[in-house]
């Protein structure tokens, strides 16, 4: 596909999307669109269970979970790493599942909200969110919970944050630390204050 005449573009014609845009690395070659893409085979260990998938390589981890495995607890709020609703744990580390391809995780262990607990057997963090009303519409909630569980591990591992005063000391478990570390999970309903209470409740318990 050739780029449109730029003068015409600026005047009247617009390409919907940017299929014709050149990437910074050089001219985009004609894609293998006519034949489609070959599915990639991969195995994800999801919530402790091996799941074999044949996927369009374009499939994000989030869409693989939601559309292929029907694990819809992980939410799509923005699909661009701007909201946190898709947060899952991969090999124990929290990431945005919307900004990673499923094929990049062949062999990885993925924990989703469904893996943390069920309505009948909730994870302590899930129970704490219910107890402290740490949610309203519920859409950001799985991401908040996955993020908070992994976040507490990050504090335990000594990873500093933007608000850690002494970079050379172990970070403390303070409200400001939790708020900063949870800031990659937006809650438009504004349950933040209650989420903090829920996390503090869990974190404050003896191990």
């Amino acid at each position: 596909m050739t780029p449109p005449d730029p003068i015409a573009l600026s005047r009247r014609t617009l390409v919907a999307g940017a299929a014709a845009m050149t990437s910074a690395g050089g001219a985009a070659a004609a894609p293998a669109a006519a034949t489609g893409t070959t599915p990639s085979a991969l195995t994800l260990r999801v919530n402790g269970e091996d799941r074999h998938l044949d996927l369009d390589p374009r499939t994000t981890l989030l869409d693989a979970l939601r559309e292929q495995l029907h694990l819809t607890g992980s939410k799509k709020g923005c699909d661009h790493g701007q909201c946190g609703a898709c947060t899952v744990m991969v090999n124990g580390t929290r990431i945005y599942s919307c900004l990673t391809l499923a094929v990049m995780h062949d062999g990885d262990a993925v924990t989703t909200i469904e893996g943390l607990g069920s309505p009948e057997a909730m994870h302590p963090m899930q129970e704490a969110f219910v107890r402290h009303d740490g949610y309203q519409c519920g859409y950001c909630t799985p991401g908040q919970i996955c993020a908070s569980v992994a976040m507490l591990e990050e504090i335990k591992a000594g990873i500093p944050s933007h608000v850690t005063e002494d970079l050379n000391a172990a970070p403390a478990l303070t409200a400001d630390e939790i708020r900063e570390r949870m800031s990659g999970n937006i809650c438009r309903c504004g349950a933040y204050s209650n989420i903090l209470d829920a996390i503090t409740d869990v974190a404050g318990r003896p191990a």
Partner: protein
Amino acid sequence: MKFDTPATSNPIDQLKVVGRPTTRIEGPLKTTGRAPYAYERHDVAPNQAYGHVLGAGIGKGRVVSMETDAARAAPGVIAIVTTLDMAQLPKGKMNTAFLFGGAEIQHYHQAIAVVVAESFEQARDAAGLIRVEYARGEGRFDLTAARPQAKPVDADGKQASAEEADERVGDFEGAFARAEVTLDESYTTPDESHAMMEPHATIAAWDGGKLTIWTSTQMVAWWRRDLAITLGLKPEDVRVDSPYIGGGFGGKLFLRADAVMAALGARAAGRPVKLALARPQVANNTTHRPATIQRIRIGAGRDGRITAIAHESLSGDLPDGQPETAVSQTKLLYAGANRLIAMRLAELDLPEGNSMRAPGEAPGMMALEVAMDEMAERLGLDPVEFRILNDTQVDPSDPSRPFSQRQLIRCLREGAERFGWAQRNASPGRQRNGRWLTGLGMAAGFRNNLVVKSGARVRLGTDGMVTVETDMTDIGTGSYTIIAQTAAEMMGVGLDRVRVRLGDSDFPVSAGSGGQFGGNSSTAGVYAACVKLREAVAQRLGFNAADASFSDGEVRAGNRRVKLEEAAAAQELVAEDRIEFGDLSKRFQQSTFAGHFVEVAVDAFTGEVRVRRMLAVCAAGRILNPISARSQVIGAMTMGVGAALMEELAVDKRHGFFVNHDLAGYEVPVHADIPQQEVVFLDETDPVSSPMKAKGVGELGLCGVGAAVANAIYNATGVRVRDYPVTLDKLLEGLPDIV
């Protein structure tokens, strides 16, 4: 049930379940990821294909041609429907912008095509292969520039002459000219985006001429009716199901393009189609809170009593649109014999302006309550005392109309006491601790209480379970739980004996979720249905309904006690009713009140603002569930911080669109922005509002917060910002000199 006289005592007053702090009954589903939202209903229709909506790349004009061959040939593509394939579709009753069809482009990212493919990836990719040729039109995108053409509109948003539209009491101009102390200032509020976490999403499936959508809506019945109008169907041929909604804030009140495009895509594909608006499309494709330019004039005597008050507001919208009613609270909040209220509406070619949480009062209070702060300073009065001095217990423009309840003074006094208001230094810019300038601010909170007719069906099953069915929605407000509490209280059972089914157009039409009317109205509807069910139970068990009491799972009268479930042991009992409201809201002014208190710290070097403490003291009738009500208020306070400090859809006035149309560009508060929040509900019941004696709280918590933040910033820095949001660039000039 007609509610036209104030409530007397009724079974709700027992408060065995209602009024008790109750965690959400759907909480375990939401926190474990099992609550199914619109896009996640894999089970409801087999063989779902994926749709992707293409949005217009111009703000105004026409589509000249669309080249779809490449997209049609792309792998996996099943169908493409473009806006040129059909005439402009009729609008739903609640819509301002047309949603689809025809060549005309009214606004940026208006839907112009849906691509249906086997997979999400294929649909999205193919949509990018459609080439569109546009003829750009001249658009009006600048509210200030459009002012000369703006037309007077009355309180209902209807165009009229200025004499008819403007509301006048006494002689404002004369009184203002005579006033010993005056204020005449302008304030602006920007366009804001609802930015709910779940983008608009729908699965649509056709069965012959009948359409079902599984969608995300606040108002099931409106969507059903308006989707039928738009697609030329009978309402009874449309079913809408929306049990879980990932936030709305007004953005899902009115039929949106996701439902229309999913339906059209499904019809073209001959298969169920699921789609969601891509996040970068949401701000321009859907609706937003319109920007306002407000002028407030207040005149008072040296004694601090207001003698003249005027509030004028200009906003813009597409043709046939509505004003942002930013003046509404000023009719009612403060006393004053001479008053002027006026709105002007300009036609703009930006996306549709429409309701966002507390439409009118939210931006109106952001202006009025800063004006009150300024006026208090000019009078040398404490801002709390100035407001108390000008309290009114009646509608100032019609003193024969009392407020049903008005505890504003208590909210302010109790708030001041709890917050340590006495410690505030009345001279701005004097409190510094290291790099931080600190200050306290307050505002009154005010939002009218609306009541809307609302229906419900209640079943007593053969298993003894009470099941409530209503098309009411729970957008995070706690509807599931307060409805369950209401049914449990009425039928005398525990919450574990109640099931609540919401959001299905097969159920009785409810108030829906909006205007903070949903909680009170929908539970009142459930109350009405339960009264009927109680009658049916009594009749079947041979009780006189008037004598029977329902508690502890039993029906009792005199010495006789029968287990409730026996009434339905042989056959399920079903009762349906709705609450309808008479003229009580005409005879009484029903409103909700708050005192908002905020402490901020402002970086003396950079102007960064940090909110350190927040308190809201609310008077809003009976609080049905202190847990979810408190959550409504803290959530609204959070949105108020966003409005005060960061939220603004940036208008490109050349090309006519909101530039920052994603969640990175349109900043809303994150965890780190929100401090400890305290909420106090005054003990109050309002028998005028409904049998529940409750009122709305979900919007009250927002109204006034922005001004309280702005007033606190002024107290901290001495910089008065009248153009929201109060971003640091507006403070820099007035901050202390650097060495």
